[in-house]
């Protein structure tokens, strides 16, 4: 219960985010055209302050539970929040340039993104099914709107529609699963649900069927949000159709939130059903790895390729998740953080070249990039090699940890490990295609990067982070490990 103002202290970051987003929404409406950069600056400032507020109360110790367990403040949530804020800030820098180069301006890009981040912050701190749903919907509504923001763009509007319809369906399915879960256990609190599930199962064997139903719906809802096969249909269309800045946001930040949601629901709420959801995740893993990688082979549009590559990375995330132990969870946390930052950099490169009338999202656009802009080509090379999982780049260490977690399961899942390994090789091929276009092919057009100095620096720092973390990833691994130490 909230007794005093001091009890609100742990949710200060969320409160700050809410107030800032509201203030920025009002500001955007009244801001004169000449001062539009204020929105960008203030949004970044907001992210910075919120990150500071998160850091202020950061602790690996026992979680603090507020408002009867509705909201949990713990290290898992805080780490996810910090990296969500970081990735959002990076996307903001790229996005501002992207819209400027296309002579467009959407103040709501920042506002809606901030609201989406707020939703995700609530989601990853959820201790209760209601909070889960609340955060999820706030995030989802904001992201649907983000995709639809450029309403003169027919393709973007179409993909927003697909995103919305399928997303709403997924939310409905998730909600149905939650209601079944409530029906079985009579509780909405995740920890209590876990307790009750054991008691109910012991008291009445027939309830297990109902539990399995609830679990199935919840896993399907999760798979929709992740974009795991066979619930991936919306993902390639949204990635290809939506403006690149929006895609960069959708592709990177919500993945962190989705991992948070999966950990809350599966490992806290339904840990007793672990053998069941392990099997379900194994199926999702195998589908995502195979379909994602094979479909990516046939793509000519880089955004679409990255969409299918996302699906395959979701496969790897699930591979770690089905471990069901701290080792797997920390591998997944590591993977999603790395994935979010690397993907942001990939879209950052695309956005540095995009301009009015040129999306720069076909692989052919990258032909001969090494000749035109060796530095950008080199950055993209590192990003692609990292996504492909070539050591010593960080993408390799992420894959390594996930595979280690899967190998730890022993013989039962050995086949899954082998398939994951083969898929990693298939995946390398389409990332190599991008490198091949940049380095081996002659260029058709002479497109120089338009990126301004700040974008170049942030992009370089972003890629360098991916590279340096690759060589010295112990600190990040320590953090990911420590998060699950006290659970």
């Amino acid at each position: 219960m909230i007794q005093t103002w001091a009890d609100l202290w742990p949710i200060l970051p969320e409160i700050g985010m809410l107030l800032a987003a509201l203030a920025l929404m009002m500001l955007d409406a009244f801001l004169p055209t000449s001062k539009r950069d204020w929105m960008f600056a203030l949004s970044l400032l907001t992210l910075l302050i919120v990150a500071f507020l998160v850091c202020l109360d950061f602790s690996y110790a026992v979680p603090q539970r507020l408002m009867d367990g509705l909201f949990v403040r713990d290290a898992l949530g805080d780490v996810l929040k910090l990296f969500m804020l970081l990735a959002t800030a990076i996307v903001f820098v790229y996005g501002r340039h992207f819209f400027a180069a296309r002579r467009q301006y959407f103040g709501n890009f920042y506002v809606l993104s901030l609201f989406a981040v707020l939703g995700m912050m609530v989601l990853v701190s959820a201790g209760n099914l209601v909070t889960v749903y609340l955060g999820l919907e706030l995030m989802a509504l904001a992201t649907y709107t983000l995709v639809a923001l450029d309403r003169d763009n027919g393709i973007a509007t179409e993909s927003a529609m697909k995103y919305f319809v399928l997303g709403a369906l997924a939310s409905g399915i998730l909600l149905y699963g939650m209601s079944l879960l409530f029906g079985v256990t009579g509780s909405l609190d995740l920890r209590e649900i876990n307790q009750k599930l054991i008691e109910v199962a012991q008291a009445d064997q027939s309830q297990i069927v109902l539990m399995a139903f609830a679990l199935t719906f919840i896993v399907i809802g999760l798979a929709f949000k992740f974009g795991a096969v066979p619930f991936h249909m919306w993902l390639p269309d949204v990635y290809e159709g939506a403006p690149t800045a929006m895609v960069a946001f959708i592709a990177s930040v919500p993945k962190l939130a989705a991992v948070g949601m999966a950990l809350r629901l599966l490992s806290e709420g339904m840990y007793v059903l672990q053998p069941r959801w392990q099997e379900m995740l194994a199926l999702l893993t195998i589908g995502s790895l195979l379909i994602g990688n094979l479909a990516a082979l046939a793509q000519y549009n880089l955004k679409r390729l990255l969409a299918y590559s996302t699906i395959s990375h979701v496969g790897f995330i699930f591979l770690g998740l089905l471990n069901g132990q701290a080792q797997g969870y920390s591998a997944v946390l590591f993977y999603s953080i790395v994935y979010a930052l690397t993907t942001a950099a990939a879209f950052g490169v695309i956005m540095s070249f995009a301009r009015e009338g040129l999306e720069f999202d076909r692989i052919d656009d990258f032909k001969g990039l090494n000749k035109r802009s060796p530095w950008m080509a080199f950055l993209m090379l590192l990003v692609m090699a990292s996504l492909a999982g070539i050591p010593p780049l960080v993408g390799f260490w992420a894959k390594l940890q996930v595979i280690m977690a899967a190998v730890a399961l022993g013989k039962t899942f050995a086949w899954l490990v082998v398939i994951a390994a083969i898929c990693a090789v298939i995946g390398a091929f389409y990332y190599l295609r991008v490198i091949k276009a940049m380095y081996f092919d002659a260029s058709d057009v002479d497109v120089q990067p338009l990126a301004s100095v700040d974008v170049r620096w942030v992009l370089a720092a972003n890629v360098l982070l991916v590279t340096v973390v690759g060589i010295y990833w112990a600190p990040l691994a320590d953090v990911c490990n420590a998060v699950f130490m006290h659970r």
Partner: protein, 518 residues
């Protein structure tokens, strides 16, 4: 001296740091970058020589060891050191890398800085592979090499470079990813250690060894390469620029052999003993069948590429025939076989580099790799012809050249294991002589048949350095291999002890060691 405590780190780090500097200098100051690259490679060579001098050849222990925590959560260490098997390979890498940079000096005209940076990175990573004592560190170096080599083949290569580079990459990647799973399994089995030395001590059941052995096999057989997973190599060698071919043939293939020596032989000795016959058979197929394939090639580079596969067959033959000898309780002969395989690796490093270098000399002038485009080159390029014929002799294993030593040792050991195997291996000498001599006859001897051959100039100073240095090495180690064999001897003896001690059960291994004890 201060450098001595971090000698290996310097050997690994200097080239990589220099590569970054060369890239930073950019194409506009490529001349400076080239100079910096060459200077660095020469310093690395001096440091490698220093390591050679300081190395205690009477010991089988790892020397110049450096160990620092890298990722404590997973017990991954930056752990490097060399023994008598790794040290000669490091020296080989340093020599060849410096020569490759010289070889490309005037030839490479586009993206010069990137070319030099790629080779420097490659040099650092290859030395790293030979130094790594931590399996994860080994894997990082092993895999990271792919990217610079991919770029080298794809950017500066021939007409089918894209196909060749992607094939090279995917083949090697597919092989090594299964090794990675094996490494992870060993990590878990050993209770959380990535130290190769720990795994050598680790008891493993027959089943475990079976899977691990074949996982390692996939990685290293592709790299070395063995029949039937060799098909990437002719493409990669043919399409790569001269420097790329040299590094591929001289050093990268050796990493496959080195992997067998470091991982397959000591970690899974029982599985290796059980399946040695398969690997011996594959080696013999490589030696004979690939030798026949080399005979019919019309492209010089392809011919030398196939000859490389055939020569690598001797390496794997030497490594795995040792099991048969060890089982027959003849550890001395087993040591001879192992040493022969290792000598063959080193010798082939120099000889194949020389062969590809010689083809590069011709290609730079005529821009054709077809044998038919030449004829009577000796008339116009007497010095070069003399070098080329000398290297050709070394390639067919003429006594007095380094090519003879390793092949002789392997055949000698093979005959003792099984005369038929020895006989089959010895036919390779005839085949080798056939394709090499025929190549020399068609390219160098006889009257001048093609008009462009008439306008050829003899070697320039740069090419003199390249050819001359390699000739000295080939001749020196052919006449006096003792420095190499002495350095290797203790490490090889330890390796024989490792491959003869079964890991299956304590009592079984006791029986076996009783049998082997003299």
């Amino acid at each position: 001296v201060v450098v001595d405590s971090q000698l290996l780190s310097l050997l690994i780090g200097l080239p990589i740091a220099a590569a970054i500097a060369v890239l930073a200098l950019g194409e506009k100051r490529a001349a400076l970058g080239k100079a910096l690259a060459l200077l660095t490679s020469l310093i690395v060579l001096l440091l490698a020589l220093r390591a050679w001098v300081l190395f205690d050849g009477s010991s089988a222990d790892m020397q110049f060891v450096e160990k620092a925590a890298w990722v404590p959560v997973f017990n991954i260490f930056y752990h490097v050191g060399v023994d008598g098997i790794a040290l000669p390979l490091i020296l080989l890498t340093a020599v060849i890398s410096a020569l490759v940079l010289i070889a490309g000096w005037e030839v490479i005209e586009q993206k010069v800085a990137q070319y030099y940076a790629s080779f420097l990175v490659l040099e650092g990573l290859m030395i790293g592979v030979f130094c790594a004592l931590d399996a994860m560190l080994f894997y990082v170096f092993f895999e990271a090499m792919l990217i610079p080599m991919f770029i080298i083949i794809g950017v500066w290569g021939g007409p089918r470079r894209v196909y060749a580079s992607i094939k090279f990459f995917l083949y090697t990647f597919l092989g090594s990813i299964f090794m990675l799973i094996g490494l992870i399994y060993l990590y878990q089995k050993s209770g959380g250690s990535f130290a190769i030395a720990d795994w050598v001590q680790l008891a493993l059941t027959k089943d475990e060894q079976f899977w691990l052995f074949w996982a390692f096999f996939l990685a290293f057989a592709v790299k070395i390469p063995m029949f039937p997973v060799h098909t990437w190599l002719p493409d990669a060698h043919v399409e790569a620029p001269t420097g790329g071919s040299i590094v591929l043939a001289a050093i990268m293939l050796k990493i496959g052999g080195y992997g067998f020596v470091r991982f397959s032989l000591p970690i899974t000795p029982d599985a290796a003993a059980s399946y040695a016959y398969i690997l011996i058979a594959l080696s013999l197929i490589a030696v004979i069948y690939i030798g026949l394939v080399a005979l019919v090639q019309s492209d010089m580079k392809k011919l030398v590429a196939y000859s490389s596969i055939s020569h690598m067959g001797f390496v794997t033959l030497g490594l795995f025939i040792a099991y048969q000898l060890a089982m027959d309780a003849r550890p001395d002969t087993a040591a001879l076989a192992l040493q022969g395989g290792l000598m063959q690796m080193l010798s082939h490093g120099f000889v194949s580099a020389a062969m590809f270098g010689a083809i590069g000399v011709l290609y730079d002038r005529v821009h054709s790799r077809e044998i038919a485009a030449y004829g009577g080159v000796l008339n116009k390029m007497p010095y070069f012809g003399a070098f080329a014929i000398f290297f050709g002799m070394a390639n067919c294993g003429l006594p007095g050249t380094s090519g003879f030593v390793g092949e002789f040792m392997v055949i000698l050991a093979a005959i003792q294991a099984n005369p038929w195997i020895g006989f089959a291996a010895a036919t390779a000498l005839i085949l080798g002589a056939a394709y090499t001599l025929w190549l020399i006859k068609r390219v160098f001897l006889g009257p001048v048949t093609n008009s462009h051959v008439r306008h050829l100039d003899d070697l320039n100073p740069r090419e003199w350095v390249l050819m001359g240095t390699l000739a000295i090495y080939v001749l020196f180690f052919g006449l006096y291999p003792k420095p190499l064999t002495d350095v290797m001897q203790p490490s090889v003896e330890r390796l024989v002890a490792q491959i003869t001690s079964s890991k299956l059960a304590a009592d079984a291994s006791a029986n076996l060691s009783q049998e082997i004890a003299p």
